[in-house]
């Protein structure tokens, strides 16, 4: 097992149970991400992308297999420690932005720092810096509803960045945006990656996926590298 990977999943499986019926969703996922990479996980609806993201994001635990962040094994951690890990090591960007509606953009960005027990003065300074980084320093006092969709997603990105996590995890970050705005968001991700930030992005959109430096495919709960996927497709095309 390579200690050099930032994220490392080995043979991760996940099965949902509904009463007595079992729904196997992830079948032995082996997948790793190195520091500084920008990986997109591309797959059709229902292929298990969100399930995988939840496991990578420490919101859910695998049934089987191992998952490590840095050198730390995530499997078997308490809920408390998982929360700490999410706070410190992971920055989430969601399809639907997930900003709290009654507090300002700045306060939304400050939120993760409250749970990191950062003093208020520092919280404000760091949140302002991240808002400036996504070009929204002048919108700090706006409520989410006073911002456009693209601006809201930029606030969400600032919030994901503010704890300086090891990895940004984005699930369909452009899913709720039009093409142009989506492209702006992707430009921001690319720029962040060029600054050395590791990004894992989940999408079903080829165009969006192409912004990443590496694309992996997920199909029926199995992971394929770009080459494997190409081979698979040509084989299918052959029959």
């Amino acid at each position: 097992m390579q200690a050099t990977h930032l994220l490392d999943l080995q043979n991760v499986t996940k099965t949902y149970h509904m009463g007595d019926v079992e729904f196997p969703v992830l079948h032995g996922i082996t997948f790793s991400v190195d520091a500084g990479e920008f990986v997109s996980v591309l797959g059709p609806s229902g292929s298990g992308k969100s399930t995988l993201m939840n496991i990578i994001g420490c919101l859910d635990v695998a049934d089987d297999g191992t998952y490590t962040i840095g050198r730390r094994a995530v499997t078997g951690l308490s809920e408390r420690d998982m929360a700490k890990l999410r706070n410190r090591d992971i920055g989430f960007v969601f399809q639907s932005f997930q900003l709290l509606p009654r507090i300002s953009a700045l306060e939304n960005v400050m939120l993760p720092l409250i749970y990191a027990k950062v003093p208020r003065k520092q919280r404000i300074a760091r949140a302002m810096a991240e808002l400036a980084r996504v070009g929204l320093a002048d919108k700090a006092d706006n409520l989410p509803r006073q911002l456009s969709g693209g601006q809201q997603q930029r606030v969400a990105i600032a919030r994901a960045l503010v704890t300086r996590p090891r990895i940004i995890l984005a699930d369909e970050p452009t899913g709720a945006l039009d093409r142009t705005t989506g492209a702006q968001i992707m430009d921001i991700f690319r720029a962040l990656n060029e600054e050395g930030i590791t990004i894992v992005m989940i999408t079903h959109d080829h165009k969006v996926a192409s912004y990443a430096s590496r694309v992996v495919h997920i199909l029926d709960g199995r992971i394929y590298s770009a080459e494997e996927y190409a081979a698979l497709e040509s084989a299918e095309g052959g029959t």
């Binding site: 994001g57 919101l59 999410r86 709290l100 749970y115």
Partner: protein
């Protein structure tokens, strides 16, 4: 620091639903207000009863004939025997009855142009009445009834303050005559206004009780108060009063035929009743607060389910279950504690108003206030716990999906 931002957050959430928050708070406000008001009023009244009884000087006892077939009442001479007992400072018989009184225009400067008659309360007392019951009041005009007036059954009277105002207005009627059931009585004085427990004299015409017995046909006093010197062992004095009663009622008398009730006993009884009432109020208070608490629980359950997505997000951002629990618990406590603060203010306000109306001295009791606040805090904490735990236990994935 974390606490502060949580509290700030809770306030903004509560303000966003101001109406709902207020209505929920109302339960606690009503509960705490009634507890505080009743406790404060109860305490104020008890305190002033004790104060006034103590203020009358020494201990008092009420002697009365229970069976008036044996004896109709006590004569002047018999009352003198009681007054002469060792340890007794004095006796105060009071006869009370309604009689027609008449003001004739030729006998008075009052505002009535023609003869004016009305039914009024007539009280027959002795000189001791003025030195005990009305100790602090004193006379507005003239003099009070003297021992000689009592002894010689003079036709004199003293007017109570309010009656004087009604009949005469604002001048001194000393020397004028008033007809009490056709008996002309000379007005010798006007009393100052009485305040306290027994203010019946304010609205009465006060005459020597001997005059009342004879000329006004009000009979002999069947009961009277005895004032016992404060330096005395009251039990011994009470015993000698009982012995004298037995002797005066005759050889065939028994304990059923008269009663001697010690004021201390009455006070004990009053205090026992007050304690009982307060205990019952405490029970009602607990019920009121439980109802308020259920209101809080209900509102917090609604809040938690409304804010499922928020809870999911906070968890994703790294909020530990304990932190989520604390956040919702603080919200519940803010509701109940604010309700408690408002309730304490309103309760003491009500007690203050009541003190003006009833006439006891208002006191702010910080202990009661503290207890009430602690109590309301506990209500929030107890009834907020279930909703807060529900929030803390939420699965972040499902919670996030709910948006």
């Amino acid at each position: 620091m974390f606490f502060l931002s949580t509290i700030r957050m809770s306030f903004s959430n509560l303000r966003a639903n101001a109406m709902r928050t207020f209505l929920t708070m109302l339960g606690v406000i009503i509960g705490i207000t009634s507890i505080i008001a009743l406790l404060a009023i109860g305490q104020g009244v008890t305190d002033s009863v004790i104060d006034q009884l103590a203020g009358l000087g020494g201990n008092r006892a009420t002697v009365s004939i229970s069976d008036n077939t044996v004896k109709k009442g006590f004569t002047e001479g018999e009352l003198a025997q009681f007054a002469a007992l060792e340890g007794v400072e004095g006796v105060a018989p009071i006869l009370t009855s309604n009689r027609v009184i008449t003001l004739l225009p030729e006998q008075t400067n009052s505002k009535f142009d023609s003869a004016h008659s009305s039914g009024r309360r007539v009280m027959g007392v002795n000189d001791f009445y003025f030195s005990t019951y009305t100790k602090n009041a004193g006379m507005l005009y003239g003099r009070s009834i003297s021992a000689d007036d009592v002894h010689f059954r003079t036709n004199v009277c003293v007017l109570g303050y309010e009656l004087w105002q009604k009949l005469y207005g604002n001048y001194s009627p000393i020397g004028e005559t008033i007809l009490v059931q056709n008996t002309p009585c000379t007005i010798i004085g006007v009393m100052n206004q009485l305040v306290g427990i027994d203010v019946s004299g304010n609205n009465a015409i006060i005459v020597p009780y001997t005059t009342a017995s004879q000329a006004l046909e009000m009979g002999l006093p069947g009961s009277f108060d005895v004032v016992i010197g404060s330096s005395r062992n009251s039990d011994e004095v009470i015993e000698s009063i009982k012995n004298l009663c037995a002797k005066l009622l005759g050889s065939g008398s028994n304990r059923e035929m008269y009663s001697v009730v010690n004021q201390e006993e009455i006070l004990d009884m009053v205090l026992t009743i007050t304690d009982l009432v307060l205990g019952m109020l405490a029970g009602i208070a607990v019920i009121a607060l439980v109802v308020g608490g259920i209101g809080i629980m209900n509102m917090m359950l609604v809040t938690v389910s409304e804010r499922t997505a928020e809870i999911g997000l906070r968890k994703a951002l790294g909020a530990r279950p304990g932190v989520i629990l604390l956040q919702f618990l603080i919200e519940a406590i803010i509701i109940s504690l604010f309700g408690g603060i408002i309730g304490v203010a309103l309760g003491f306000g009500a007690s203050y108003v009541a003190s003006m109306l009833i006439g006891y001295t208002f006191k702010f009791n910080p202990l009661i206030a503290m207890l009430a606040l602690l109590f309301s805090l506990a209500v929030g904490a107890i009834f907020g716990l279930l909703p807060a735990r529900r929030a803390a236990k939420m699965n972040p994935i499902e919670a996030l999906r709910s948006s």
